[in-house]
């Protein structure tokens, strides 16, 4: 069967989206492939479709458990039952059950740290693997905004394997990151597909404010008068709850959404947002990855982002349906200092690293050492990786380099925020792209053009109300 008929039969689409077909053809012809496709452009089709043509299972390495679980749920929902996620959250009994029957699955999602476990790796080596997918491949790069040392270990895993071809997927990769992907995954003359990251239907605004208070007031006005559905990104779980309560008191249909909530409650909020029962979601940047909704009209950042790549990924959740959407970032002078502090604080200082090292040497467990030295969790993961491979002095140097890199990325973001140039142009330039033609609604520098659509409130703020218990039961089961 040719790929067009599979597209129709299995996925129900008549046509490929831009960029998909070339990637798919490369994967099918066993070539190492890198696909840089913007979020929401149908990345997952790039491995799902070839899987139906090739024999064997597809191994998909994915960094975030939430993202993985989500993708699995979507595929199951769409009728593919031979899909499974293996990660450290899996209960022991479930893991045993799955590992023993790994051959039953066509799509195996796995987190990098699980790949490092010998028994898991052994089981995988026994399988016939059609090809390997490395999702969010930019995580492998120390220069990426989302560096995960665990990802570097993927290369070590691949060494043990007579490996099939690899498909590396990411939404954001500049040349430096691209180089790292090729290097660490040992790709052989990969085909690189880079689709323009320009999202014409999204307009970009950066607004300087004088105080946090002013930001809150602006957000209230905005959510009162302009169209949703939308996401508001805030800096902490606490702030997410706080802001959601404040806006709700003023009649906005909104809920907070973050990792501090129970799984069931998060599922409820997702569902309410997707069905339109609530119009806005107030989320932390670390979370909200799993929100799949095509008609998000607005993304608001309450604070400055620390990297362009992160910003692009968050903004990318808007307007997947292709309709006009607005991205607005609010910032104050103080934000810059605050953001710098948070970013730099993520990485350990020299004293902390030495302290940590000595604690381990004196026989402390990793957990104890982490706590006593006051290093963040990400921090320890990075140190562990380096200390296993190089002497302390070199490790310190590596960490120092990373600090410099983070500062550079912050400067890049600052440059865009403070710049007098077109925001769209600057964002694209960061990825080595040149803007050909700006849309009418471009950015707060060029002008936002007519924004009538933004003020058309298609949906009033819905009134969710507690109803009589027997009525609700009847609505669920009798209507």
């Amino acid at each position: 069967m040719d790929i067009k008929s599979i597209l129709l039969k299995k996925f129900g689409f008549e046509h490929f989206r831009v960029g998909q077909e070339e990637v798919i053809r490369n994967v099918i012809s066993n070539r190492d492939t890198i696909a840089i496709l913007p979020t929401g452009s149908g990345k997952s089709l790039c491995y799902q479709l070839p899987a139906y043509i090739k024999n064997g299972a597809v191994l998909i390495i994915s960094p975030l458990v939430a993202l993985m679980e989500d993708q699995v749920a979507i595929m199951k929902k769409n009728g593919e039952k031979r899909v499974v996620a293996i990660n450290s959250f899996l209960a022991y009994k479930d893991r045993q059950r799955i590992m023993n029957r790994l051959d039953l699955y066509k799509f195996i999602f796995i987190s990098p740290e699980m790949l490092m476990q010998n028994n898991v790796a052994e089981q995988i080596k026994k399988l016939k693997i059609a090809f390997i997918v490395v999702d969010e491949a930019h995580c492998i790069s120390q220069w990426g905004f989302d560096f995960r040392p665990d990802y570097l270990r993927i290369g070590e895993f691949l060494k043990q394997l007579e490996r099939p071809n690899i498909l590396a997927l990411t939404a954001t990769a500049d040349n430096q990151v691209l180089g790292d992907i090729i290097n660490y995954l040992r790709l052989e003359t990969p085909a690189v597909h880079k689709h323009s990251l320009d999202r014409k239907n999204i307009s970009y605004s950066m607004k300087q404010m004088n105080s946090e208070h002013e930001k809150t007031a602006w957000i209230l006005e905005r959510t009162k008068k302009t169209a949703g559905p939308g996401i508001i990104y805030v800096a902490s779980r606490k702030r997410a709850d706080e802001l959601a309560i404040y806006l709700k008191e003023h009649g906005i249909s909104i809920a907070s959404y973050h990792a501090g909530m129970e799984q069931e409650d998060r599922a409820f909020i997702q569902e309410q947002f997707i069905t339109g029962e609530i119009n806005w979601i107030c989320a932390t940047t670390a979370f909200g990855m799993g929100i799949h909704k095509n008609d998000i009209r607005q993304v608001i950042h309450e604070n400055m982002s620390s990297t362009i790549a992160g910003y692009m990924q968050e903004v990318g959740r808007a307007g997947r349906d292709g309709d006009l959407s607005a991205a607005t970032l609010l910032f104050t002078e103080e934000d810059i200092g605050k953001t710098r502090f948070i970013v730099q604080n993520d990485l350990p200082t020299e004293t902390e690293v030495r302290h940590y090292f000595n604690l381990i040497k004196e026989g402390s467990s990793k957990n104890e050492a982490t706590q006593l030295s006051g290093i963040s969790e990400t921090g320890t993961r990075i140190i562990d990786y380096y200390l296993e491979r190089m002497p302390m002095e070199s490790a310190l140097l590596k960490i120092k380099e990373q600090k410099t890199e983070k500062e550079k990325q912050l400067q890049n973001m600052l440059h865009i925020i403070n710049g007098e140039n077109c925001i769209r142009k600057s964002l694209l330039k960061f990825y080595g792209e040149t803007l050909v033609a700006a849309p009418a609604s471009c950015c707060s520098v060029c002008g936002l053009g007519e924004e009538d659509w933004l003020f058309e409130m298609k949906r009033g703020n819905s009134t969710r109300q507690i109803v009589d218990w027997a009525d609700r039961l009847a609505r669920l089961l009798q209507s």
Binding site: Q263, D265, I466, A474, L477, Q478
Partner: protein, 354 residues
């Protein structure tokens, strides 16, 4: 319903007999000899394990509240007493209908099953065959799948029957208005997503913690209603294996098997590489739960009668006090006597009995 007042009810039974933390271990369902024994001696089965994840600071907060209000006092050995003032409020408190002993957290498994079944029925009714399941636990999904295979889920009659059974059993269970509201809003379906705890709390003006207590109690009430009636065939299927089948801990079960084979306590202790005190704990646990436990092999009938009489005369089950009265008996023997003396299944717990 408030954690402080719930604790006051528990403390009224432990009055002057146990440390304040006995109530903490009880709520968290600690399966230690001491807690299992307390549950039995002081008729606290209903409260066992209703809050397995209760944090110590939340507990301390609730206790401080009771202390400040002058309802309880705690002596230097951490033994807790209920004050006169405390006894007065006791009468104003609601009757609790928890049945933690029988369910031990498994009530949540029941609700997860029900939630997924209701969601599926609701979507199928709307002709929507594909949706995101609100429950992603594998065992729950497997249970629901097998359950639904046996039903004619495509037939409207299925959801009608589920509706009838749910409505009738909820009415029958004696849940109060708040509990009914919470229960049905935690369920979700097509175009009616469930409500989060926070949303319910905001809308109903009840603290999240109080909501969860109401909710857990309502699950126990509903489970009891369903299990005692033959009028709910679908729900009866859904509550399968929710009630704990054995009240003994796994380690105790092993000890019991060896004992049944005729082994002595010493022998069991050697064989299992367990301390004698642990084996004694096991025996006390068995004596509490097993009607056929041969207590006469350990103490005489006269001794039992004497201890039981003394215990009620003094109004205490504190071992130290009883030991002073019966220096010839060991602590182990005393524990066995107190254990068999209070034997029985889980009972509804009300304040009248205090």
């Amino acid at each position: 319903m408030d954690l402080s007042f719930l604790l006051l009810t528990i403390i009224s039974r432990l009055d002057g007999e146990r440390s304040i933390y006995a109530s903490y271990h009880l709520l968290r369902g600690k399966r230690s000899g001491q807690t299992l024994q307390d549950v039995e001696y002081y008729s606290l089965k209903g409260f066992f394990c209703i809050l397995p994840r209760l944090k110590i600071d939340v507990f301390d907060g609730a206790i401080n509240h009771l202390k400040k209000a002058g309802y309880i006092s705690i002596d230097e050995d951490s033994v807790v007493y209920i004050t006169k003032k405390g006894k007065e409020v006791l009468h104003t408190l609601p009757l609790y209908r928890f049945n933690g002993w029988d369910y031990r957290g498994r009530e949540h498994v029941f609700f997860s099953r029900l939630s997924l079944i209701v969601q599926t029925a609701s979507y199928f009714r709307a002709d929507q065959k594909s949706f995101m399941p609100m429950q992603n636990d594998y065992d729950i999904q497997l249970f629901v799948k097998e359950f639904l295979l046996k039903q004619r889920i495509l037939d409207e009659e299925f959801s009608n029957q589920l509706f009838q059974e749910l409505r009738n059993s909820i009415e029958q269970s004696g849940m109060n208005g708040c509990q009914k509201t919470i229960f049905v809003h935690r369920l979700g379906g097509y175009k009616h997503a469930g409500w989060t705890w926070k949303q319910l709390s905001d809308e109903m003006g009840i603290k999240p913690f109080t909501l969860s207590l109401y909710y857990i109690e309502s699950l126990h009430m509903l489970l009891q209603t369903i299990s005692q009636s033959s009028k709910y065939p679908l729900l009866t299927e859904i509550i399968k294996n929710i009630q704990v089948s054995t009240y003994l801990t796994e380690s105790t079960i092993k000890t019991k098997e060896l004992f049944n084979q005729g082994m002595s306590m010493q022998k069991i202790s050697q064989l299992r590489h367990l301390k004698m005190s642990t084996i004694e704990d096991h025996f006390v646990e068995i004596s509490i739960n097993d009607q056929s436990f041969p207590i006469e092999e350990f103490v005489s009938a006269t001794e039992i009668a004497a201890v039981v009489a003394k215990s009620s005369e003094l109004g205490t089950k504190r071992l130290r006090l009883l030991k002073e009265e019966f220096p010839s008996l060991t602590y182990f023997q005393l524990r066995l006597i107190l254990g068999t003396g209070s034997r029985g299944g889980a009972k509804w717990i009300s304040n009248q009995s205090c």
